[in-house]
């Protein structure tokens, strides 16, 4: 950034004008060494690190709609690593570290803003769970601590400490918690990848996976077929549907996840605040909008429609936490389809097909893992299937071994 800023200061033209846009659409080639299905954050990050660290540039990212238009655009942009299991904390901390330097690396502002995340405990059981999370986090050099009511009141003066007959007992204060502009993360990775020779094909939907003798040989798209050395699937909510096309099942259930934002107002809320008991989290974006999000819908559905009962319960909880929000007007609302695993951890690594790699099961926690996912998936692909230590616990076969990585307490409704 500093160098770019200097050039901008001394030049007489806006510096990004000529290369801000991505290269235009080209014909699909006959063969790619790597085909990445899904042009969201995870897909383009994988392509970026493949090109940058491993010199693999004969790569196509196939996106059925437009760049970063799926769950990359629908998440609530929370970055944190205060998970429960050592496997989870190690993995997400590596992601937070990468995020911290991402704007510099891209020379493109992702509006990364480290404001800390505060999770509220309303029961003794939650306080005990928070104490455990704080200790696990400290062990992995995360900045997480348990704080009392007075410290919470000082951090967030406008917070109602006695909401809905559920008084706040304590808080888990995670200084590393941050937010960033989610679209910019996808754009930054896509720009970096395409500058290094990766092809991004939007409006290109994969309709079939060709295979012979347990190996993928090519993919069929609505724009013709291509041969490929290997495939990475990174399609979030549609993971199970794509895996079905490849001929195997994944232990995923698709649930809609709903969120909304209010009209923008002056900044009043610095940390990201969430409450596990009220199933709600509230944060103010850099633009001033208040983002309100919460738990998934109560039953599985492949549809990103909104439902009034869930919006009502989310708003009720948000108003319990910040009573003056009742005066605000909603600006927009949306839903995304999340692919949930039973242990609230992702499915990464090898699949039943030899050269087909999985980046799935990202449920409601995918955005915060984007950089480390890209880096580890690129390592996996470049090494021809040697699983990096960091993602080994998230293998698909953990379900057959009954060795799940239980992050339910640290994930559900507290993004």
């Amino acid at each position: 950034m500093p160098l770019g800023l200097l050039k901008y200061g001394r030049g007489d033209k806006y510096p990004y004008e000529q290369h801000a846009d991505l290269p235009g659409p080209t014909q699909l080639r006959d063969h790619y060494d790597v085909v990445i299905i899904g042009g969201g954050g995870h897909g383009v990050a994988t392509a970026y690190y493949l090109a940058k660290y491993h010199g693999i540039t004969n790569v196509a990212v196939l996106e059925k709609a437009y760049l970063g238009g799926g769950n990359t655009a629908r998440n609530t942009a929370v970055i944190r690593s205060n998970y429960l299991t050592p496997e989870g904390v190690r993995f997400y901390s590596a992601s937070v570290k990468l995020y911290e330097n991402l704007s510099n690396e891209f020379d493109f502002n992702i509006m990364y803003s480290q404001r800390g995340q505060l999770t509220l405990a309303h029961t003794d059981a939650t306080v005990r769970a928070f104490r455990q999370r704080a200790e696990v986090n400290k062990h992995f050099r995360g900045r997480t601590e348990l704080i009392d009511r007075q410290a919470i009141a000082e951090l967030v003066p406008c917070l109602n400490l006695d909401p809905a007959e559920l008084p706040v007992l304590a808080g888990l204060w995670h200084r590393d918690g941050a937010t960033a502009r989610h679209d910019a993360v996808a754009w930054g990775y896509a720009r970096g990848a395409t500058q290094r020779g990766v092809e991004l094909h939007q409006l290109t939907e994969v309709t079939g996976i060709e295979q012979s003798q347990g190996r993928v040989t090519g993919v069929v798209t609505n724009r013709g077929r291509v041969n490929c050395g290997c495939v990475v699937q990174a399609v979030a909510g549609h993971s199970a549907l794509l895996a079905d096309k490849a001929g195997f099942a994944l232990p995923l259930v698709a649930y809609p996840l709903q969120a909304m934002v209010t009209l923008p107002v002056k900044p009043f809320l610095n940390p990201l605040v969430s409450s596990s008991a009220l199933h709600c989290y509230v944060q103010q974006t850099s633009r001033g909008e208040i983002v309100i999000g919460g738990g998934s819908d109560p039953y599985p559905l492949y549809q990103s429609r909104a439902s009034l009962p869930l919006k009502e319960s989310l708003i009720a909880s948000a108003v319990d936490l910040f009573p003056f929000l009742s005066e605000m007007r909603l600006l927009r609302q949306w839903a995304g389809i999340t692919d949930m695993t039973t242990d609230y951890s992702p499915i990464m690594g090898l699949s039943p097909l030899e050269n087909y790699y999985l980046d799935a099961g990202w449920g409601t926690w995918g955005f915060k893992a984007t950089p480390i996912c890209g880096q580890t998936m690129a390592q996996l692909v470049a090494s021809g299937g040697q699983v990096p230590d960091l993602i080994a616990p998230f293998a698909l076969e953990r379900f057959d071994r009954f060795q799940q990585v239980n992050e339910m307490g640290a994930t559900a409704a507290s993004h």
């Binding site: 549907l241 994944l250 698709a254 109560p298 599985p300 039973t342």
Partner: protein
């Protein structure tokens, strides 16, 4: 609000019901392999189409079966589990009458 037809209580708000997972044939836990058991526990039909699910009418604790399209959210049919299972508590493949 969305309405679900409870076989015992008639049409009620969907908020009165609890989802209880898909209706799957349980392999014999004494004889099946670990892999068969893990598939029964963790896997279900997760492609788009009509699925057969357990639902509970929460206030009356009555469990029943619903056939629902998981893409359009249309509830096609709801019925008492007695239609599928011959004996109460027997969820194995042999317990489900055709």
């Amino acid at each position: 609000m969305k309405i679900m037809h409870c076989p015992l209580n008639g049409p009620r708000n969907i908020s009165e019901f609890t989802y209880g997972g898909q209706v799957l044939a349980m392999p014999d836990p004494e004889r099946c392999s670990d892999r068969e058991w893990s598939h029964y526990v963790f896997y279900a039909d997760n492609t788009i189409g009509v699925v057969r699910e357990w639902w509970q009418h929460t206030p009356s604790s009555y469990w029943f079966i619903a056939e629902r399209h998981n893409g359009s959210d249309d509830i096609l049919r709801t019925y008492d589990p007695g239609e599928l299972f011959s004996a109460q508590g027997d969820l194995t493949e042999g317990g489900a009458s055709p």
